[in-house]
């Protein structure tokens, strides 16, 4: 393995559901330690892309490599190991509503036997503090929390096992702009602190620029543009420009009928 091996390498990834092509030949490289933002409209296949890398969805064809190792061809045990090195923040946090916050946060650590149940409560407090929550929140249930707090707990759960890859599925969706900025700030802090490689998918431009180093746009199952996140608003690509500026007129026509 050389220093130039990308942390995540994807080649010609295809996935269809029935007759609908969701991913139509996606290729991308994410370098070690960078934050990669994928933008795209609703239903453009962003979530499916993340789920393919996580192994929650099996692609029809293509290559997904983590540290040069083809995930799709790895035996199940090895895939579980690779998956355990990825932390994921789900769109609606996806907290386990039958468990308390501290049980949620330490769930992965307990599953991997990295801590004992006895120490878990205290450890959860430390992780909660990292996302700006009071340790006493640990005793509440997810339904007792606001949307922003749920996102924070989801983030705490994702970083608890100190994964070297982090995925964020629309981290700011459903939050007010200030809370969105706060969550973005936490995400950047966590990624930096852990030295992780991150992929975030979003359609919030402010968030994309705050989180991302690199950015790409997914449109109709293909990556149609890639470049530094700072040039998102003036990419020169008519598709990206229409999307980032939210114009009604342009090459992208909204499909309102299926």
């Amino acid at each position: 393995m050389t220093g130039t091996t990308p942390k995540i390498r994807i080649r010609d990834l295809h996935k269809s559901f029935g007759t609908k092509k969701v991913l139509d030949g996606v290729s991308m490289d994410v370098a070690q330690g960078t934050s990669f933002v994928v933008i795209g409209g609703s239903g453009s296949g962003k979530s499916v892309l993340l789920r393919c890398i996580l192994g929650l969805i099996t692609p029809d064809s293509g290559i997904i490599e983590i540290d040069g190792e083809n995930v799709l061809e790895a035996p199940e045990k090895r895939r579980e190991k690779l998956r355990s090195e990825i932390g994921m923040l789900f769109q609606n946090a996806a907290l386990f509503d039958s468990l308390t916050v501290w049980e949620n946060v330490t769930f992965g650590l307990l599953a991997l036997h990295k801590i004992t149940r006895k120490n878990a409560r205290g450890h959860a407090g430390t992780i909660l503090a990292q996302v700006g929550l009071d340790p006493s929140v640990g005793d509440l249930y997810p339904s007792e929390l606001s949307g922003g707090m749920q996102k924070r707990v989801g983030l705490a759960r994702a970083i608890a096992a100190q994964p070297n890859i982090l995925f964020f599925d629309e981290p700011t969706t459903g939050l007010d702009p200030i809370m969105g900025a706060v969550i973005d700030g936490l995400i950047v802090d966590c990624v930096k602190k852990l030295g992780s490689t991150a992929i975030a998918i979003t359609h919030d431009m402010a968030s994309a620029q705050r989180i991302g180093d690199e950015a790409a746009m997914l449109y109709k199952g293909k990556l149609i543009w890639q470049g530094p996140a700072s040039s998102l608003m003036n990419s020169g690509n008519p598709y990206v420009d229409q999307f980032t500026h939210g114009r009604r007129e342009g090459p992208i026509s909204m499909e309102l009928r299926r």
Binding site: L56, S84, M88, N92, A94
Partner: protein, 261 residues
């Protein structure tokens, strides 16, 4: 001609999708069962499901059994009195309760109570990404969610049926003694004489199978639910309906297997 072809094609498609569904269910059941015996085990999940299935179903199962036993005594009295065969009532109650009413009524009650709850809970976890979250946190959802529930159903229902058997007979006894004027010692002697180990055993075997089926249907429909609140709702309905029908069908098959000569 076209119409005939169309009809055949439709029939073929329906058959294929039925076979596909049966295959998917069988694979799901096999996977769930295999996770029961392979570590890690989730004792905490098992205990809470077991408590919910077994202990908290006790009141509804107990009341159902008590009244059913009473009804059997009352009905058979009306029928048998015409032939002066009232003395057979104790035997009829024991037979009906241990062989059929205990397992079937307890099963149907638990299907409505616990099967529905399992489908709703797992279905909600599915549509809110909680099942995917389990996978990302190094936890196999089949092992964490499904296996403990299957095991809880398998163990809890026989215990419930044992209680239902006792209370069903007690219901018959109460009606016979208080309302129909039987002598208590005579009724008890008649009950003990007609109580057969095989009847109780087969009833408990049925119960174990029913418990498994109820949990399986709840988990299967919940696990495969999609499309938000509506999807969870239809998964819950489907789980209870499927469990009830399968329970009655397997009840017939087992009865045929054990009791028909």
């Amino acid at each position: 001609m076209d119409m005939v072809l169309d009809l055949v094609a439709r029939l073929g498609r329906a058959t294929l999708s039925l076979i596909r569904a049966a295959g998917a269910l069988a694979l799901f059941a096999a996977s769930g069962l295999s996770h029961i015996v392979r570590p890690p085990f989730y004792g905490r999940v098992f205990l809470s499901t077991f408590l919910e299935t077994g202990f908290f179903s006790l009141p509804v199962v107990a009341l159902t059994a008590l009244f059913s036993g009473g009804v059997i005594a009352l009905q058979s009295y009306t029928g048998f009195a015409q032939y002066h065969a009232q003395s057979a009532i104790a035997g009829i109650v024991v037979l009906a309760v241990t062989r059929e009413l205990g397992p079937v009524l307890a099963g149907l009650m638990v299907a409505g109570r616990v099967g529905a709850a399992m489908a709703a809970q797992i279905g909600t976890m599915r549509v809110t990404d909680q099942i995917d979250a389990l996978t990302t946190l190094s936890t196999n959802p089949m092992k964490y969610l499904v296996a403990p529930r299957l095991l809880a159903g398998l163990i809890a229902l026989p215990l419930l049926v044992l209680v239902a058997d006792i209370l069903g007979v007690a219901g018959g006894f109460t009606v016979a003694v208080v309302k129909l004027g039987f002598s208590a010692p005579a009724y008890i002697t008649a009950t003990l004489n007609s109580l057969k180990t095989i009847d109780v055993t087969v009833g408990l075997v049925k119960a174990a199978l029913f418990g498994f089926l109820i949990a399986l249907m709840g988990c299967y429909y919940g696990y495969n639910s999609k499309g938000g609140a509506e999807g969870v709702g239809s998964a819950t309905t489907a789980a209870v309906v499927a469990a009830s029908i399968m329970l009655l069908a397997f009840d017939y098959l087992l009865t045929d297997l054990f009791f028909s000569q």
